[in-house]
């Protein structure tokens, strides 16, 4: 392989592996900006991955090539519905956010495997989906010399949508009334309350948005990468997305770049063998790399990066 092809492969695989992380870390950013810690993203991704797979297998003949896109929407909706559990527990019932998130994480894989067995005659995993989300060339942009070849050819469109969504999310959080209010309940809910902002409503929005984005993130995982649902479809990506959010300092654009970095780490297991200097390394190193890098990054950045002030704090409205 020449340098050009290696570069193309790295960029393309990085984006593929980063896409689920981008969406999910943006979800995490919304949730935590609103003051609700959401460690349940992993579980939400499982639900998104499972629901989208079942949808795709059931309806691919009806919808044809549009199936994977509709599957993402289904994954997003199911993620949103699942996240209601977290919203009710943390906002209304004043549960500890970490505990509630852990409940999602334990509930989701068990439920998904159980339903898989029920739906697919006792099998531990779903069949392979017929209409998957594959890489394509982006019209016009892919015609740009060199850059077009590296970035816009043979690439995952949803990944680019994720990157654009990060900028849009930043704009929503920092330039709109909704964003200002959302951040205010994550920083100082008492102050927001005295100004007539409904803390509960804002926090619900924050969690539900994170549920939707996490669900889409999970759906991308099954629609573009594993192509079916099994217990290892989602293996720590939710936590990596959380790490990306922290690494990105709770800023959507930062989270997106961090997700790209983690995506690169994950892509090493595929492209590592082609990169000259490290190609001789044991395969295990590449497999372990993304998790190891996550831990190292977190260890170094979790102290320096500051969370929204009231993140994880329960708000009790006085009567």
């Amino acid at each position: 392989m020449n340098t050009m092809t290696i570069l193309m492969t790295i960029v393309s695989t990085t984006l593929i592996y980063a896409s689920p992380l981008i969406f999910t870390s943006l979800g995490g950013t919304f949730s935590e900006r609103g003051g609700i810690v959401n460690v349940g993203l992993e579980g939400i991704m499982v639900i998104g991955a499972f629901a989208s797979t079942v949808f795709s297998i059931s309806f691919n003949e009806t919808f044809g090539a549009a199936t994977p896109w509709l599957a993402l929407i289904v994954g997003g909706i199911c993620g949103l519905l699942f996240s209601i559990v977290h919203a009710v527990a943390t906002v209304n019932l004043r549960a500890n956010h970490i505990i509630s998130g852990t409940v999602l994480n334990m509930l989701a894989p068990a439920a998904a495997v159980f339903l898989t067995k029920v739906i697919y005659d006792g099998k531990g995993q779903t069949p392979i989906i017929q209409q998957n989300m594959s890489t394509t060339d982006i019209p016009l942009l892919s015609k740009i010399p060199v850059i077009g070849d590296i970035f816009f050819s043979n690439t995952l469109v949803i990944g680019w949508i994720g990157i654009l969504l990060a900028f849009a999310s930043w704009w929503v959080l920092y330039k709109t009334r909704f964003g200002l209010r959302l951040r205010s309940v994550g920083e100082n809910p008492e102050a927001a309350d005295t100004l007539g902002i409904s803390v509960y409503k804002m926090r619900y929005s924050a969690v539900l948005i994170s549920g939707m984005l996490g669900g889409i993130g999970g759906a991308i995982m099954s629609q573009a990468i594993t192509l079916n649902y099994n217990v290892s479809t989602i293996a720590g990506q939710g936590f990596m997305a959380l790490a990306a959010m922290i690494f990105g300092k709770w800023n959507p654009i930062g989270a997106m770049f961090a997700a790209l970095f983690f995506g690169f780490a994950q892509s090493l297991s595929i492209v590592g063998a082609y990169i000259p200097i490290i190609s001789g390394w044991n395969d295990v190193v590449f497999k372990v790399a993304p998790y190891l890098i996550t831990i190292v990054v977190l260890a170094f950045f979790i102290g320096k990066s500051t969370a929204p002030k009231a993140d994880g704090e329960t708000f009790i409205k006085s009567k």
């Binding site: 009334r177 100082n188 005295t194 007539g196 002030k309 006085s318 009567k319």
Partner: protein, 523 residues
């Protein structure tokens, strides 16, 4: 005391308003009239029910019974938004600001001007805010983040928040508690100006001099009930204080001349560095004798906190020695220092003095829980601890519903009494009191000063660190002034003046003052 005048001239009127929490009536049958265009002070001890009343007026609480009238009309407010719409706004004692937002973002939050589709239009807001800022002399830096601006400016942001919402009735909840003297003067001027513009102000405070300075009328509230309303110009500070506490208050602590004995605390050439390795206490030497109160005066941040921390073992000293009751306690662990005979009333009672979520009885046991009779073989004897706490609650007049109440639920003065009970009861050879009356009302201050003098009269040493010169002059026998970590000199309290102390606090050593005096005398 009710006066007759047209209802429409009342900005706010409360009729038979009662607010109960369970069985406890925080406000009981309150009748109050706030006239338009006046500053109406609300005076009461900590926990008298002032804040509850204001939370009713700002829509955060709903009254259990009775009526609220705003501008002559009966209203039922169910949220702060309702109060807002009626033109009522409150500057909370603990500012309600988002640290991470800019000044402008904080002011517009909840009432944001927007373009289509909810896009913020901060430009439009900026114009209105800057106009208000100029009109009322409320100087702000609109683009600075709140966490980077001074406390005084934070308060101006709070006021602008209300003005931005066109509030006509402004409630200030102990606004000066966090301000420096010059900021207080500024605030007083701003309040007067707002009233001239036709706004009405309710000022909650327990500082009598402020009431004398700005308020037109003053209503005194005690234990949830109105004691009376008076015109400020017709009443003296003494009268107001007596009404508030319900008995005659003495501003001057009665004490006999001290009979000092041997030194209980000897500080020799002590130096202390803070966490940034900056030397905060420099080569300091002094003694505290048995049977005297040594006051340490000085402006905040001149090494007093570090000195106290070094004596109590919370901070290591870099050189020098500390001797307590003939034992060398330099750099010993806190418990060893305590056992050597030190009592410590820390500067920040909520952070260092108490564990707020624990009960009063547990807090009282904090210094002795590990030995008999509080515990045996590592098991706490709650029966004994509670009985002991009940005894101290009575002895020290701590107002709490029970020894099993959460300490955080007590008022500031009563929290301080819990600490004093715990520390004084052990009869320590040396008691350190660091700003023991900060934020407390006159009744509580009087009580605490008496306890400090009692401790002295029992033949123990007392080291009083305070930023308030009144307190230092009132309680101490001798006064040491600290400036920039150094000892500016020690004077007899009976033979010094505020002027002399002021000079020393500004960095002029005592011998220099004496020399220049002598020169003047020689000429």
């Amino acid at each position: 005391m009710q006066s007759n005048f047209d209802q429409a001239s009342c900005a706010i009127e409360l009729k038979h308003m009662t607010k109960a929490f369970g069985d406890f009536k925080a406000n009981n049958d309150i009748n109050l009239k706030i006239k338009k265009g006046q500053i109406h002070a609300l005076l009461g001890e900590n926990g008298a029910g002032k804040s509850t009343m204001m939370n009713v007026l700002s829509g955060l609480y709903q009254p259990t019974s009775g009526d609220v009238f705003v501008n002559g009309e009966k209203v039922a407010m169910t949220s702060s938004k309702d109060a807002n719409n009626l033109g009522i706004g409150m500057v909370h004692q603990h500012f309600m600001l988002v640290d991470d937002f800019t000044v402008i973002e904080n002011i517009v939050l909840g009432a944001e001007p927007t373009k289509a589709a909810g896009i913020l239009n901060l430009k439009q807001a900026r114009q209105k805010i800057m106009d208000l800022s100029e009109k009322y002399h409320l100087e702000i830096d609109p683009d600075a983040k709140v966490r980077d601006i001074s406390v005084g400016m934070q308060q101006r942001v709070e006021i602008l928040k209300l003005l931005y919402r066109d509030a006509n009735i402004l409630i200030f909840d102990e606004p000066t508690a966090v301000l420096t003297p010059s900021e207080i003067t500024e605030l007083m001027a701003i309040m007067k100006e707002m009233v001239q513009e036709g706004k009405s102000i309710i000022l909650i405070t327990h500082k009598l001099d402020e009431i004398k300075e700005v308020a037109d009328e003053c209503t005194v509230i005690r234990r949830g009930q109105i004691i009376g309303s008076v015109l400020v110009k017709n009443s003296s500070e003494q009268q107001l204080a007596d009404m508030m506490v319900g008995r005659e208050v003495s501003f001057k602590t009665d004490k006999t001349k001290s009979k000092p004995g041997e030194a209980v605390l000897k500080i020799e050439n002590l130096s202390v560095k803070d966490s940034q390795k900056v030397e905060r206490v420099k080569n300091l030497s002094f003694n505290v004798r048995a049977g005297e109160v040594l006051g340490i005066a000085g402006v905040d941040g001149n090494g007093q906190s570090e000195l106290v921390q070094a004596i109590s073992g919370l901070e290591k000293s870099s050189s020098g020695s500390i001797t307590l009751d003939n034992q060398n306690i330099t750099n010993l662990k806190v418990r060893k220092v305590t056992e050597a005979g030190l009592g410590h009333i820390p500067e920040d009672r909520q952070r260092f003095g108490l564990i707020l979520p624990m009960t009063v009885s547990e807090n009282i046991a904090l210094q002795s829980y590990y030995c008999k009779p509080d515990s045996a073989h590592g098991v706490l004897k709650y029966n004994y601890m509670n009985e002991h706490a009940r005894h101290l609650i009575e002895q020290f007049d701590i107002r709490t519903s029970s020894e099993k109440s959460e300490t955080g639920a007590l008022s500031g003065g009563n929290q301080q009494k819990v600490i004093i009970a715990r520390e004084v009861e052990r009869n320590p050879k040396l008691l350190i009191a660091a700003n023991p009356t900060r934020g407390l009302d006159v009744g509580a201050i009087e009580y605490i000063h008496k306890r400090l003098v009692d401790q002295r009269d029992k033949g123990n040493g007392v080291l009083l660190v305070s930023f308030s010169l009144d307190e230092i002059l009132n309680v101490s026998d001798r006064i040491l002034v600290m400036h920039n970590g150094e000892n500016m000199g020690i004077v007899e309290a009976s033979r010094t003046s505020e002027q002399e102390l002021g000079l020393m606090m500004a960095g002029t050593p005592l011998d220099k003052i004496k020399k220049s005096k002598r020169k003047v005398a020689d000429k």
